[in-house]
Amino acid sequence: MNSPTRRSPKRRNTQTSPGHRSQLIGVVVNQSPTNVELQKTVEIDELINPPPNLRESKSEIDPPQNLRELDSHATSLQTLLKDEPILPKSISSHYRSHADIALTNAKILKGLSFPHGMPLGPYKTFEEIFSKINDWAKDVNTGGGSFSIVKNSKNAATAQRGAARLLTCSCAGTSRSKLHSLHPLDVSRPNQKPSIKTDCKWAIYVEELMEGWMVTHPPESSIHAAEMSENNELCIVHNHDLCKTEASKILYSNLREIPEMVDNYANFLKKGGMSSSMIYHALVQECLEKDVDVTITPQDIRNKYGSPASESILDCTNLHVYLMQRLSSDPSLEYDIYIDESGKMERIFLLYNNGCNFGMK
């Protein structure tokens, strides 16, 4: 209902919504974001029933009729491909370019730079750039030591830029002890490990640009923390010590890595249906046989090869055979199975080891 005080007619949103974008196909005239208004849009209806001028131009790209034409057609395609870079399919006209980022960074970074050797991109996918930066971070010889990064918030693509993700150091965030001092818990957890969070300000944005996924800039708080730090050359710094040796990495679960050789073996065992605890024991045995240092824990194996609860339901397919074998080896382990009229196994009773010797008699 209209407000009684409203006199002007209800305003309507004249901007094209993101949903409406699927109805339009942009033809790029100039890829700069400042010239978005120059982009010409063609309605889908026009594409289905093109105007006469478009129909005429269509004949120019008709397939060649004979071999000579085919040869010249291929040559012209080659020249086109040489001139224009091949962009991924996901590249759209509203993405920023590397040049735009360089201009923006000149103002934002205030003369500071990214760490030496840090992979900045471009990479085809977000997962690729994440793994490249994580590998670089975990290497003790680069970036001043070993640390790991985690995925933080994500910003969806807008009309002016592509999708962006914030990557932070795994120590970013408020430590649990600080949180508990603010909101004390009644339940004490003696086995709880201390928090690794140190409120580290090492963080970077990665964004989908026209060239692919690239590191763009750190958040403002990270730059401010870097300016305040002793190292005034880098735009992102840690506020905690980094692991300087391979041996010290073993202490931290996020820095531990399963050797590639053992990883393939573990994947093979998992496909065979082995549980994570059995995989762990098999991997330890494999490492000992091949003189590889055992740098894995049962928790690492559970995290990587463990099955979800939905898959770990008890399989009692061969239970009857197993119970028969158990009884033949130990006569005290008795059992009984009730089968209904249709031959379906309906009830099973089995004694546990030493169950019948345990005081109930």
Binding site: L314, Y338, F349, C356, M360
Partner: protein, 83 residues
């Protein structure tokens, strides 16, 4: 607690857990407490929850473990609260 200490391992608990295997049979464990206060699983069943099945399970338990006298104490648990 005093009564619990006196009767000790003469107490037997039996409860079934829902949907623990792919055949839909419910796993039920006969559990007691030893003199050291530790839980001990004596026997287990796989069955569909029905009065007839439970009767069968207790009869089997009595038969194998030669239990002659039973005093039942049935505890009905309230269903999970729905949001």
């Amino acid at each position: 607690m005093q009564l619990w200490n006196e009767i000790g391992n003469r107490v037997l608990m039996y409860d079934t857990k829902h949907g623990t295997n792919k055949f839909g049979l419910n796993l039920g464990c006969f559990t007691t407490i030893d003199s050291a206060g530790k839980s001990r699983v004596l026997a287990a069943t796989f069955l569909y929850e029905s009065e007839e099945s439970f009767d069968w399970a207790f009869k089997k338990f009595s038969f194998f473990l030669e239990v002659t006298h039973w005093f039942y104490l049935q505890m009905e648990l309230s269903p999970w609260p729905t949001r």
